[in-house]
């Protein structure tokens, strides 16, 4: 199972949740499969998906799923200690770990070698860290959302990409429709 197949399997779980989605192909895949105003697509800024997700979860009460990647987490490792030390139980960080920089041509990352993101997250002080197989992701994510506990999920999947169209929605529109949805749900 590769990342786009993981996305296909989790769409029914996240379709009605507030989602912050990682830059590049992950956002394009989610946009193609299930475009929703509850999706915030990152069109730039490698690495900050987990930070934006945490900031959003701290600021309001609805559940937030940040869908990040191994390459992005490696870029912004400082985010994990911040997450560990600022626990908000409406936050789920799903790291789709395909051991490669998928959007740039599947160059290998160190998580496909010796580095374990689950162990790093635990060492940073994160509670409720779950490493799962790609096939288990939807169930694990559903359980995490139902647990009311901040959870870090590391989904180990295969690398590989499918052709997907670019996102042409203007950034301010993505942001505005997302904020309208956040505001509505917090009323």
């Amino acid at each position: 199972m590769n990342r786009s197949e993981v996305f296909k399997s989790i769409v029914p779980v996240i379709t009605d949740e507030l989602v912050i989605c990682n830059i590049g192909l992950p956002s394009q895949e989610l946009h193609m499969l299930d475009d929703q105003p509850t999706n915030f697509y990152m069109l730039g800024t490698m690495g900050l998906c987990s930070s934006i997700g945490l900031g959003l979860a701290m600021a309001q009460r609805e559940k937030v799923v940040a869908i990040d990647g191994d390459g992005s987490i490696l870029t912004n490792f400082g985010s994990l200690p911040t997450i560990a030390n600022n626990v908000v139980d409406n936050f789920v960080l799903l790291i789709i770990d395909n051991g490669s920089y998928g959007s740039t041509g599947d160059q290998p990352t160190y998580t496909g070698k010796k580095t374990s993101l689950a162990k790093v997250a635990e060492a940073c002080g994160c509670d409720n860290v779950i490493e799962c197989k790609a096939e288990e992701t939807a169930d694990v994510l559903k359980a995490a959302l139902g647990s009311d506990k901040m959870t870090i999920i590391v989904c180990k999947c295969e690398s590989g990409n499918i052709p997907v169209p670019n996102i042409t929605i203007p950034p301010v529109v993505i942001r505005d429709r997302f904020m309208t949805e956040v505001e509505k749900r917090n009323r």
Binding site: G44, L48, S51, G55, L56, M58, G78, P171
Partner: protein, 168 residues
Amino acid sequence: MSDEISQRVVGDLIEGGIDFVTTVPCKQLAGVIDELDKSDQIHHVPSNKEDEGMGLCAGAFMGGKAPCIIMQNTALGVTINTLATLIQFYQIPLPMLISFRGELGEPVACQVEMAIHTKPLLQQLGIPTFHFHKREDVEELPEILKYTQMCSKPTAILTDATFWRGVL
């Protein structure tokens, strides 16, 4: 370490509606960070790097908060991509209260190297920039906060050592 000017700055942030602040420390900002921790009206989240802090601020903004980032001018070097592709691209209002190291009174030579680039970088990015040299310059802070919300842009408030110390 707490002082009158730090109390004034944090008071103005609260008055201006700021309720979420991320910081990466600087010696010059120790007093203001101290004051933030005393306030129960501001959610203070220390971050490990300033671009991470801007990500937190962007998320908090979308959750209905009015964020502010407090950082050193050297951090402009690590936040340029984030300023352009997140804060400016998505039109997020973000006041940046920046300690301006490397100005008069600076004891560390290396700080001058980024001080030289600070204003040109801000100008290149098209970021409205304000510069506090003296204590009385704080009078402009409430208006700068309003201006930031009005135009939905990042704004830079450069604060010299003389602003925090009150003397050269």
